[in-house]
């Protein structure tokens, strides 16, 4: 087991002190990522999925307070010095952000930035790093990489910029790619292109991937395992099929049923989740989902459920995880 584990996180909690009070963005999250696997973290805004990733990369502002334990290739991420952390960022784990414009510096050429990323971790000459930049741009499917290496980010389209960001992320052969909504800002046909690049690159380098997204379709195709988050907590986690078809958690079910599907021939009402996600400053007592949950009972209002085992490597945070009525995924689709 030890060999396989790349990242192991236990009881990670992140809160922010703000004028309005303490924002509990991530609460007691534990999970792991094995070498070469794709773990998707799914959730709506405010579910804590991005803050969780930023906590691991140690890229949070000063008002953040992080507790817990996170081990990456055996090193404790949360207690490393900033200098040691810099060695891991980019080389051990690298990030692909949603908006490529914020990840690229507008005043340097794309090639310069990739070469710079290479030279931070590898002692190679500038010309050699530039050569490597051209190779990387070629790998992510940028046409005429020899010329485009001298372009500035604004001269690239959105899809091309995201490809450049991916090139930069893989420039030091990281073991773990953290992709935070990597295709969300792109047009549908460009999304497919970028997804193809990410998966090709991930396969070619053998890197593991932590894919953070709200897109249940994207996850269905690429994830080995899925972790559903709500109100800063893990609500369900397991193999992709188990989570999609198992339906052991009321929130996961509600999420799956509220999304219209492309292959849906009927236009029956969507089953919407009533209410809005909880405020992370004033979380409800008991289960944080109870005010919106169709199955909630008295116990849910007083006692927060633990993660309950409901299959091999499959857990769900619900008092009734193992006794919920049968869930027929796709029952609404009149197929």
């Amino acid at each position: 087991m030890g060999e396989q584990r790349l990242l192991e996180v236990e009881n990670l909690s992140t809160s922010f002190t703000t004028e309005d009070g303490i924002v509990r963005a991530v609460s007691d999250v534990s999970f792991h990522v094995d070498r070469g696997e794709v773990l998707a973290v799914v959730g709506e805004s405010g579910s804590g999925k991005s803050v969780m990733a930023m906590s691991l990369m140690r890229l949070l502002p000063k008002n953040a307070f992080v507790t817990g334990w996170a081990s990456f290739e055996g090193r404790d991420l949360l207690s490393l010095s900033e200098a040691e952390m810099r060695k891991i960022r980019g080389r051990g784990m690298a990030m692909i952000f949603q908006d490529p414009m914020t990840a690229l510096n507008p005043v340097f050429t794309v090639g310069n930035q990739i070469a710079e990323a290479v030279r931070v971790h590898q002692s190679v000459s500038k010309p050699l790093a530039m050569k490597r930049a051209v190779e990387l741009l070629d790998l992510v499917g940028i046409p005429e990489p020899g010329q485009r290496v001298d372009s500035y980010p604004h001269e690239f389209s959105g899809g091309m910029r995201q490809r450049a960001v991916i090139a930069m992320a893989i420039s030091n052969d990281p073991q773990l790619l953290i992709a935070d909504e990597p295709t969300t800002a792109l047009d549908v046909t460009i999304q497919a292109q970028v997804l193809e690049v990410i998966i090709t690159v991930q396969r070619a380098t053998g890197a593991a991937m932590l894919l953070i997204t709200h897109d249940l379709g994207l996850v269905a195709g690429v994830a080995d395992r899925v972790q559903v988050m709500y109100g800063g907590r893990v609500f369900e986690s397991g193999d992709t099929r188990d989570v999609y078809y198992g339906g052991n958690n009321p929130y996961t079910r509600a999420l799956m049923r509220s999304v219209p599907r492309l292959d849906e021939r009927t236009s029956d009402r969507l089953s919407s989740v009533p209410g809005t996600p909880p405020s992370l400053i004033r979380l409800p007592r008991g289960c944080v989902f109870w005010p919106r949950c169709e199955f909630s009972e008295q116990v849910c209002r007083t006692t927060e459920p633990e993660l309950i085992q409901c299959g091999t490597d499959h857990v769900s945070r619900c008092h009734f995880a193992t006794t919920l009525p049968e869930f027929e995924y796709g029952a609404r689709l009149g197929a």
């Binding site: 070469g36 696997e37 794709v38 709506e44 805004s45 389209s157 899809g159 047009d187 549908v188 046909t189 460009i190 497919a192 292109q193 997804l195 193809e196 998966i199 090709t200 991930q202 396969r203 709200h214 897109d215 249940l216 379709g217 994207l218 996850v219 269905a220 195709g221 690429v222 994830a223 080995d224 193999d239 992709t240 099929r241 999609y244 509600a254 999420l255 799956m256 509220s258 999304v259 219209p260 599907r261 492309l262 292959d263 849906e264 021939r265 236009s267 009402r269 969507l270 089953s271 919407s272 989740v273 009533p274 209410g275 809005t276 996600p277 919106r292 091999t312 490597d313 995924y329 796709g330």
Partner: protein, 382 residues
């Protein structure tokens, strides 16, 4: 979030003429171009062909969905129809009446009938106004007194699933979904018969998105509204629309009844677009072969010659580079602008192979049930 339709509804559901059969909205050859200016003298150096000859009609009580990627002109189209942007040429008729040529006074009256809801509920509500005034403003502008307006605003808030007390609050006190409800209430205030919905749910989380889609459907049934639903999310558009129109670079690529378009797309662009959308079903998703179009979307300032899609089309022929295809009816009510439209049931991949062309296909490994499988393996074929 479902609420009973109380007596407040009477403020809205006054008798409405039913005109089944004749379109409520007709758009013919609508053109909206924007000049590109440069230099000290702001000389015109180019043109953005945002909307470049669009025909469509919307029937009473119908939802026409408009889909397309950025730069296809869908937003400009919606705004040009109600003249928030003055179109360059073309005809817009509302209940048979010319909209483009309407005098300002008449236009104000027509705008009571045609309303718009915008994408960003954060940007489209005035932060300094209480919600009561935001919703009541259109009524006041139309000459009603504050006293008359107050109960109507309370009724409107209830109709969209908020409570009358919410009227005293300011926009920042509301969540994204609630703000969109406020935007919808404002649009409903003047009892329109047509609402243009410009990406009304794309800024919202999925659980909230479903609430708003359900609300829109309820309102349509209750009030007999017609919708022009503009969006980039093909799944949402299929769900809400009766008919769907696909745009590419300012032109109509294809239009058909919802299931006809999604089940039997005839335009290679529509086919590729549908193919690019992932489906939230692991077993199904890993059986699909998704076509990945190469290249970027061309700029609407420099649309390609001939068929605008030919630069990215995997089945384009010489004719496509020269002659722009016109919309033709391939099956009943199914119109497509393509010289080499796909037949019913014919897939784009089959046509690509027939032509011995190459195309990138995104396909994933099926999930190994022994749980040691690796996922996500794109293969290239063709």
């Amino acid at each position: 979030m479902e609420r009973g339709w109380g007596p407040e509804m009477s403020v809205l559901s006054q008798s409405r003429p039913s005109q089944n059969g004749t379109p409520i909205l007709e758009v013919e050859n609508l053109v909206t171009h924007f000049p590109i200016r440069a230099g000290v003298l702001r000389r015109r150096v180019g043109t953005v062909f945002a909307v470049d000859g669009v025909d469509l009609h919307v029937y009473p009580h119908e939802t026409l969905g408009i889909v397309g990627e950025s730069g296809c002109g869908k937003t400009t189209l919606g705004r040009s129809i109600i003249r928030l942007i003055e179109p360059t040429a073309g005809v817009v008729r509302f209940n048979g009446e010319d909209v483009i040529g309407a005098e300002p006074k008449r236009m104000r009256e027509l705008r009571q009938e045609m309303q718009i809801v915008f994408q960003d509920p954060f940007a489209s509500l005035n932060p300094r106004m209480p919600v009561r005034d935001i919703i009541g403003e259109p009524l006041l502008i139309q000459g009603r007194t504050r006293k008359e307006v107050r109960p109507q605003v309370a009724g409107l808030l209830e109709v969209v699933g908020l409570s009358p007390e919410h009227g005293n609050r300011y926009p920042h006190e509301f969540s994204g979904g609630q703000r969109q409800r406020i935007g919808i209430a404002r649009a409903l205030a003047l009892k329109p018969s047509l609402i243009i919905l410009d990406e009304p749910v794309s800024a919202l989380d999925v659980s909230i998105q479903a609430q708003i889609l359900n609300l829109l459907e309820d309102l349509q049934d209750e009030l007999g509204l017609s919708y022009l639903f503009i969006a980039h999310d093909l799944s949402v558009v299929r769900h809400i629309s009766d008919r769907v129109l696909v745009m590419y670079l300012g032109r109509v690529a294809e239009v058909a009844d919802r299931n006809e378009l999604y089940d039997r797309p005839a335009h290679p662009y529509t086919h590729a677009l549908l193919s690019a959308v992932p489906i939230a079903d692991p077993d199904l998703e890993r059986k699909r072969q998704r076509i990945v179009l190469s290249g970027d979307l061309p700029s609407p300032a420099h649309p390609p010659s001939g068929c605008r899609f030919h630069t990215r089309c995997p089945i384009a022929q010489e004719r496509c580079t020269e002659t722009e295809p016109q919309l033709r009816e391939v099956r009943s009510g199914h119109w497509v602008a393509c010289h080499f439209a796909l037949g019913a049931g014919e897939t784009l991949l089959a046509r690509v192979e027939e032509l011995h062309r190459e195309v990138t296909v995104l396909a994933f490994d099926p999930i190994d049930t022994d749980n040691d499988g690796e996922a996500g393996h794109p293969v290239h074929s063709g």
